[in-house]
């Protein structure tokens, strides 16, 4: 095996990054299924309320803006680490704040739907599919916020390497993914399906 010198070692990816991509692909398949459920049952409810009657566009445009902005801030945070210009913690914390704002908006929306309009999982097919789809997305945002908080804490305590630790990169990827899913959910539920 002394001929090792003759072998050009090809560059190999980081297993953690490849693993994250593979995991996000499976998440994509999961959300696609929930979306199929939503689209298939669009307009098939036997009783009301319908999406047009109860979904409030201004509120959701606001939460959507929060989530889109958070993709920008998380990207700024990662770039701050990559270029060493500082400000990582600030951009990262801003992402968390925007994520929490999105969740608060969703909670407010759900409160209105449940308390004012009486729409629950069991009301009709719209309630069934809407709460499942949006709920699983919100659960993923919640998980993302917890991940962001964990990374921030580890960073502050100096447990992460200073130059673009992979935990930061992968959390950012996850966050972009959750954001991307929301773009599709928003389009399907609030734009096309309303």
């Amino acid at each position: 095996m002394s001929e090792a010198v003759a072998i050009a070692v090809e560059p190999r990816g980081d297993p953690r990054k490849i693993g994250m991509i593979a995991f996000l692909a499976s998440e994509g398949a999961f959300f696609s299924t929930l979306l199929v459920g939503y689209v298939v049952y669009l307009g098939k409810s036997i009783v009301g309320p319908t999406p047009r009657e109860v979904l409030s566009l201004p509120l959701v445009v606001g939460t959507t803006a929060c989530l889109l902005a958070s993709s920008y801030t998380v990207d700024r945070a990662v770039r701050a680490l990559r270029t060493g210009t500082g400000g990582f913690a600030r951009w990262w914390a801003a992402t968390i704040a925007l994520g929490v704002a999105f969740l608060a908006g969703t909670a407010y929306e759900w409160y209105g739907l449940i308390a004012t309009h009486g729409l629950t999982l069991g009301t009709n097919l719209f309630g069934t599919t809407f709460f499942t789809l949006v709920g699983f997305h919100a659960a993923h945002v919640t998980a993302g916020v917890i991940m962001l908080l964990t990374v921030l804490r580890l960073w502050r305590r100096g447990h992460l390497p200073r130059r673009e630790p992979v935990a930061v990169t992968l959390t950012a990827w996850y966050w972009h993914f959750v954001d991307g899913v929301w773009v599709v959910v928003f389009t399907v539920v609030y734009v096309v399906g309303r």
Binding site: I7, A29, S32, L34
Partner: protein, 548 residues
């Protein structure tokens, strides 16, 4: 060969310490062995259920089993064999071999790997916990068509145990898929290009892609089912506008790729065994590799051939029939490549080769009955008859199980350092081969004569009795085969001939290390220049890399 030390130390320690070591291990080899042991245990349980089903069908109007028990047994039999035998045994063998074949020290994520095994095991136990629940195990069949699974028709917690068990084990399967992809793409030995990985590893890459795409939709569908049952949702509840049809689509979108998840690794094992026991290189590696990926992607678009009789539409029927015919083409390419590998080879008729040849002959027939069923017009007649039961057992036993047995007989010496008994292996093979044909061939006839699957009993004047009796006789011939296999595995552990590092004079990296391999697999990083690194080492005068 200087690394036999770990074995010596385990023998001296008390049982609890050894047990503790297995429970906390993150070593891919130990996890692989645990997967396989778990799968074999479930194989015996699922096999017992099958035997009881066959006894019930031995005579017209028999009442050996109560009807509900009969339904519970075919439900558990299917669920067990697919989720807790087929997938774990393949994932387990791959767990053991993929890092060795690519020259890595472990999987990319060892702890995720351990998690995957334990949730798969507990998923299986959760399904079987339904025995202790009021109402007992679920009785709706393994594909669980709605609305049979809704609260209205299944009040007890059996369906919940089943759904939760599959959700939990599904998480483990996805974890394994993620792990294999990361391992194969990033942890290959220096010099090993992606188009030089051993063929088994290549098929595991394909299977993992399918796992990532096909398993999550099942998880989503099962979650919908649980929401229906416990949170008042209406996904599969026709009274509120929900649809049983959606469940069928979602289930089979998982269910059909699933059969390729179950068979691609068997293709991989056959593709390792046939070259070594023909003393030739695998014929047409590139075409085999492309055919594998073609199967991976085409098979994602064939699922509704399970649903021709639902009344979809002529367009959909034609699409899914066409796609199903299409997938036979890459499979046919593989078949011819295996034959071309055998052609002109110096065949060594040891047990792995025997099972490989069993695979070639039986899988061919199973594949052809699949093409028959893919004709929508024929399927209208044969749908949900015993012809279908005969077909998919022919594929899953004739394909997957014969492939797995070839693989286990091939790699057992590597895992244990001992050879399996050839004598017992030959008994196992011939009993299985004869018993298998006798069990499942008559089912095709019964199906053509109109016997529906899953019926609890039948009338004597239908002419089905003889075919059922032959099938049950075949089942009883198969039983000793599995027992001999289990005995051989245990007996050879102590009494088998010492195997040495490379008993078959093979060419892939797993044979370069000791048997069993040390925890770190290789003393130094192997360097690879061709598809047969060990050939290059053994024949420095005529290495493969000059020609590849």
């Amino acid at each position: 060969m200087s690394i036999a030390a770990p074995e010596l130390t385990t023998e001296r320690r008390p049982l609890s310490a050894a047990l503790h070591e297995w429970v906390v291990t993150v070593d891919h080899k130990k996890i692989g062995v645990m997967y396989v042991v778990m799968a074999i245990a479930f194989l015996l349980v699922g096999g017992l259920e099958a035997v009881l089903i066959r006894v019930q069908l031995l005579w017209p109007r028999a009442d050996f089993l109560p009807p509900v028990t009969f339904n519970q047994f075919f439900t558990l039999h299917g669920t067990t064999m697919v989720f807790f035998v087929g997938m774990p045994i393949l994932i387990g063998i791959a767990n053991y071999l993929v890092p060795l074949q690519v020259g890595a020290r472990d999987m990319a994520f060892p702890r995720l790997n351990a998690l995957g095994f334990w949730v798969t095991l507990f998923g299986g136990l959760l399904v079987y916990a339904s025995f202790f629940m009021p109402g007992g195990p679920p009785s709706m069949g393994w594909f669980a068509y709605a609305p049979l699974t809704e609260k209205t028709f299944a009040r007890g917690p059996g369906v919940d145990c089943w759904a939760l068990g599959l959700i939990v084990s599904g998480v483990g399967t996805v974890a394994a898929g993620v792990n294999f992809i990361a391992t194969i793409l990033t942890m290959r030995a220096p010099g090993m290009k992606l188009r030089q990985v051993p063929f088994f590893t290549w098929t595991i890459l394909g299977t993992s892609i399918q796992i990532l795409v096909a398993l999550p939709p099942l998880t989503a569908a099962l979650i919908m089912l649980m929401l229906d049952r416990h949170a008042g949702a209406h996904f599969f509840d026709p009274q509120a506008g929900g649809s049983a049809y959606l469940w069928q689509h979602l289930f089979w979108f998982f269910g059909h790729p699933e059969v390729y998840i179950l068979v691609l690794p068997a293709f991989g094992m056959i593709s390792e065994v046939i070259p070594v026991f023909s003393r030739k290189v695998l014929f047409g590696y590139e075409f085999m590799a492309l055919a594998t990926m073609a199967i991976v992607f085409i098979s994602l678009g064939v699922w509704a051939h399970h649903m021709f009789t639902v009344g979809m539409s002529r367009t959909l029927d034609m699409w899914f029939a066409g796609a199903s015919f299409l997938v036979a083409i890459p499979t046919g390419i593989k078949m011819f490549n295996w034959l071309a590998t055998l052609y002109g080879g110096k065949l060594v008729m040891k047990s792995p080769m025997l099972f490989a040849l069993g695979f070639l002959s039986m899988f061919l027939i199973g594949g052809l009955t699949g093409v028959i069923l893919a004709c929508a017009a024929v399927d209208f007649q044969l749908h949900d008859t015993y012809f279908v039961v005969g077909h998919f057992h022919w594929v899953l036993i004739g394909g997957t199980l014969f492939g797995v047995f070839a693989g286990i007989h091939y790699w057992y010496p590597k895992v244990t350092g001992r050879m399996l008994s050839e004598r017992l292996a030959k008994w196992q093979f011939w009993l299985l081969f004869i018993g298998f044909i006798l069990t499942f061939a008559p089912m095709h006839v019964a199906g053509v004569l109109g016997m529906p699957r899953r019926i609890y009993t039948y009338e004597p004047d239908r002419g089905w009795a003889i075919w059922n009796q032959l099938a049950t006789l075949g089942a009883f011939i198969q039983v000793p085969s599995y027992l001999i296999f289990a005995i051989n595995l245990v007996w050879s552990l102590w009494k088998g001939k010492p195997a040495g590092d490379d008993p078959w004079d093979a060419w892939t990296l797993e044979w370069a290390t000791t048997s069993p391999p040390p925890p770190y697999n290789f003393e130094s990083n192997p360097v690879v220049r061709s598809r047969r690194p060990l050939w290059d080492l053994k024949h420095p005068d005529d290495p493969d890399w000059k020609y590849e």
